[in-house]
Assembly symmetry: C2
Homo-oligomer: 346 residues x 2
């Protein structure tokens, strides 16, 4: 079926209007009218080929919220009119230990990305969510609770699950002390989730102007990391530290914040490796771990959690024509806290 | 009481004969005649001030095995004639959460080292195990099972517990796949313990001459890492990787060996930080952790485990006069697999 959207036609090219074909509805497919598509920093990295050779034309977008418009003959989980979400992947091998465990994001053959990838037929280029419609295997889509503002839901499909998953993996709950490094599109979701899970949350940010927002989101403490020595009094205080900062930084200062047996989780890909001092790890049997989005079952769990706790992303809704400007502002961290494109403007 | 041993009188000086005073037996103290004192690579680092300013004269040694010769009036856990071991620390604050949990090595005030430290009275210099006798608070000593060769027991008090503890912390048992990086004083203990715990053990070493020893110790596989590409086929294979190599290396190659949610444990202090790629952690929610010796209860558990499984360190027994040469050979990895000094020669 014919679709309209935004694409980068060549590496580093600005986004322009683009018409293309989506596959016809298969027996297990669901078609959706997209309502909102979030802008993720990783869209920019891929459009600009900052993460290695990419596939062009590229229709970015992997934070997709919409309404089911048609279902294939074998679909059982969705009906026309349902609210539906699609995230960072649209398929996986379905047979490896990770897939069977519901951790499709760690598929041993590699998950199939929502864009900048080739589908598992080996030839179809996957086009992402900056578009008016989408077709997805029902097993790789999730239900969106009905009463949430849909624009704020779109970023949950990547930014949201990226923070929700480590908070669950490392068992955050009442009594946990959690630090969130950075208050941006990712960090603000971490604060909201950790607060709703009952944790005592500290935001570590070099932008003191964000203090009021952090506290309004439920953080108990705001630490201005631009002040030298500000972290020192917090040594050995936290059960979990979530690093949402994609820029390179001295990770050892933050490892020192961990209690015995506690973990610092990295979720971004800075341009160079972290320099990790063995001493910072040995002292207190500390751990540093990675976490990457979440599986389909956990995405559904997160959306149900959001429905129960009325959690959405703070968003600025823009038209398709504003996307290139939104990219520049995203790079400059000039957004509170996530751009979403109104799909009616494609 | 008067003691004899070996000391470095000034930084970087060779070890020479040294006479000094041990404290008189307190109510909670046990005196022991040392039988064997192990030579640990960290002794060399400290004698040479490679880990920062140190205290001289320094009597090194924190792998101590001997026999109780006298007990204080309040001692309940030991009697004269018992075999007794002392490890890396001789005291701690006893009141912090770590100490109460039996993890004295992570004491929040810092454990009191067996040497190169000031005791908790704030003034007494602690002299280590290269000596004929020792005095220790009974709470910081462990029982040695009677039928083990005592020379091979001494290195268990540091090298042994350093490997035993992470294997227990990360729940190694039948079915676990464990890789041990390096087959030296530390690594060979890791192999013996992991094998006895029922794991399938692989040794990753750049010294192919060690293959026969590794297999004789029970390792199933030996991978010669000096062959380019040798690790690649092992990607995503291991539940736990123990890095016993104290030299700097590219840790990301080894992180790639981890299965989903698996951990690489570092236990040494290389001279420069590890460069950890966030991608290697994100891929498979991998973790890198530190581990430092073990607490008193776990040391006792390890010694009981050694008694049950007849595990000791492979040692070369030397006289006190050979200690400086043994240091050079330790640095050159020219020992199978640990030097112990016969305390009768002090």
């Amino acid at each position: 079926m014919k679709a309209r959207g935004l694409a980068a036609l060549t590496p580093k090219a600005p986004l322009t209007s683009f018409e293309f074909e989506r596959r016809d509805l298969g027996a297990h497919d669901v078609a959706l009218d997209i309502a909102y598509a979030g802008i993720c920093h990783s869209d920019i990295h891929q459009v600009r080929e900052e993460w290695g050779p990419a596939i062009f034309p590229m229709v970015p977008g992997h934070e997709i919220a919409g309404t089911v418009s048609a279902i294939g003959s074998s679909v059982t989980r969705f009906k026309v009119g349902d609210l539906i979400g699609v995230g960072v992947f649209i398929d996986s091998c379905r047979t490896c230990a990770s897939c069977i465990a519901g951790l499709q994001q760690y598929c041993q053959e590699g998950m199939t990305g929502t864009y900048n990838s080739i589908e598992r037929d080996g030839r179809t280029v996957a086009f992402g969510g900056y578009s008016n419609l989408f077709v997805i295997d029902e097993d790789y889509a999730v239900h969106i609770p009905p009463h949430l503002p849909l624009a704020g839901v779109a970023p949950l499909l990547c930014a949201g699950i990226t923070l929700y998953s480590p908070l669950r993996t490392w068992n955050v709950g009442p009594g946990s002390k959690v630090a969130v490094m950075g208050l941006g599109g990712l960090g603000h979701m971490g604060v909201k989730f950790a607060v709703a899970m009952g944790a005592e949350v500290s935001v570590l940010s070099h932008s003191p102007s964000k203090k009021a927002d952090a506290l309004a989101m439920g953080a108990k403490h705001f630490i201005d990391t631009s002040i030298s020595g500000a972290l020192k009094p917090l040594n050995k205080s936290f059960d979990l530290v979530l690093n949402t900062v994609s820029a390179y930084l001295d990770i050892n200062e933050y490892l020192d914040l961990l209690k015995l047996d506690a973990t610092l989780v990295v979720i971004g890909l800075p341009g160079r490796p972290y320099e990790v001092s063995a001493g910072a790890l040995l002292n207190g049997r500390r751990r540093i771990a990675g976490s990457m989005i979440g599986g389909i079952a956990e995405m559904q769990e997160m959306l149900d959690f959001c429905g129960k706790h009325s959690i959405v992303s703070d968003v600025e809704i823009v038209e398709a024509g504003y996307a290139n400007t939104a990219y520049e502002r995203t790079i400059a961290s000039d957004v509170k806290y996530r751009f979403v494109i109104d799909a009616a403007s494609f």
